[in-house]
């Protein structure tokens, strides 16, 4: 723990049922008398934050931790609090309904299938010291908030985030240049949707871990996808794409490309 210069955690107060909930993990992430920051969002975004701190020369080694216990509260009711209080929240909208609207817009006959709820945490260590697996590109973006303004069959935010990550990583043809991809499919139909926007239609190495269907908490999912990529790249060289999303029907999107 002494070798870690800084920590970035990812968690959201409302899911933790605590104001400034990151206070409760300060000791266990070794942040006493140390730098610490906290993203209220997906763990993959926290990894981007940590990576940028290292690129900026502020730190050499950063610990990233994402945690969430989604079984503590009302899984969908909690997401109603993320909708604007003037138009959408009073309608009783939540992430489940937003996903249902998205599925309906896609005109898919499949039933709405959310991933199983889960409690968990994930952690990675980033360092400026040369190592076999490196971060080559990252991008994130926020989509429109009002569901009625969005084309729910598309995700310009994911497209933009991916374009940025691909450009930085030198990915020209994703299906050819990537060896594997792990997408955060909080709802089953999102797997194909995110894949098509990422240029990965029919990509044979999509979600080798099983994706979110094996049960990953929100805010941990994106960091977990990065870990699944790293574990596989350790066995075989190549390039992997990690993905996270949060907010109604994936309003926030983050993509990271790593290579071995």
């Amino acid at each position: 723990m002494r070798d870690i210069d800084a920590r970035v955690t990812a968690s959201v107060d409302l899911w933790d049922g605590l104001t400034a909930s990151n206070v409760m993990v300060t000791e266990v992430v070794g942040a006493v008398m140390q730098p610490e920051s906290r993203i209220a969002g997906d763990g993959l975004l926290a990894a981007c934050h940590g990576a940028m701190s290292i690129m900026a020369g502020a730190y050499h080694t950063v610990l990233i931790v994402a945690h969430c216990k989604s079984t503590m509260g009302d899984r969908w009711g909690i997401t109603n609090w993320t909708f604007d209080p003037i138009y959408q929240q009073p309608l009783g909208l939540d992430d489940y309904y937003a996903a249902a609207l998205q599925l309906s817009a896609l005109r898919s006959p499949a039933p709405l299938s959310p991933c199983p709820p889960a409690d968990g945490a994930a952690a990675i260590i980033l360092s400026s010291t040369p190592a076999p697996i490196t971060i080559r590109g990252m991008g994130w973006a926020l989509d429109e908030h009002y569901l009625g303004d969005r084309d729910l069959t598309d995700s310009p935010a994911l497209r933009k985030a991916a374009r940025r990550a691909y450009d930085l990583a030198g990915i020209i043809d994703p299906k050819r240049d990537l060896t594997l991809a792990e997408l955060s499919d909080h709802f089953a139909h999102q797997r194909a949707l995110w894949a098509s926007i990422l240029g990965l239609n029919g990509f044979p190495h999509l979600n080798p871990s099983g994706g979110s269907a094996h049960g990953v908490p929100p805010f941990v999912a994106g960091l977990n996808s990065l870990i699944e990529i790293v574990l596989r790249l350790r066995e075989k060289t190549g390039a992997g794409l990690a993905h996270g999303c949060w907010g109604p029907a994936g309003q926030g999107q983050v993509v990271m490309v790593v290579k071995q």
Binding site: M1, L14, E27, G30, G73, W81, P85
Partner: protein, 152 residues
């Protein structure tokens, strides 16, 4: 000029918090035996209340339980005069009430809790206080009503 509007919502949320192994032990000892247990860091030897998995200063896991007395020394004290929401009731707690940071005998950290005395003139740092317990216990700090001065 359009009239400004405000809209009201009331939101409710329930959470089920996990106690963890160390708090479960603390709660059981308090509820069953009226025992206050602290955890000692193997490196710096500090006894912590409340218990937690690691000593933040040493990043060392703590497994050594230490019995802490229900009598201690006031290291900081104040009297609260304004209504502050009591998290247990959701309502403002009737003021004035005395409050202190109390170092219980055996512990190295202090606990923040109520005092029986609410006259600031009668409070001083260094005074000795003892817990006044409730009849029925649930295994939380609220099993203590407040701390009352004792002559040492």
């Amino acid at each position: 000029m359009t009239e400004l509007l405000r809209i009201s919502h009331t939101m409710n949320m329930d959470w089920r918090y996990g106690t963890s192994w160390y708090f479960a032990k603390f709660i059981r000892a308090l509820q069953d035996k009226r025992l206050i247990l602290g955890l000692r860091c193997p490196v710096c030897r500090r006894v912590y209340l409340p218990p937690r998995p690691v000593c933040g200063n040493c990043y060392a896991e703590m497994r050594e339980w230490v019995e802490v007395k229900d009598i201690g020394t006031v290291l900081a004290a104040t009297v609260v005069h304004v209504p502050i929401i009591d998290p247990l009731t959701g309502q403002p707690r009737p003021a004035p009430y005395g409050m202190a940071l109390i170092q219980l005998d055996g512990a190295d950290t202090t606990i923040n809790f109520y005092l029986a005395e609410n006259d600031a003139a009668k409070l001083h740092i260094g005074m000795r206080v003892r817990a006044v317990w409730r009849e029925q216990r649930t295994g939380t700090l609220s099993d203590i009503v407040h701390f009352k001065e004792v002559s040492s």
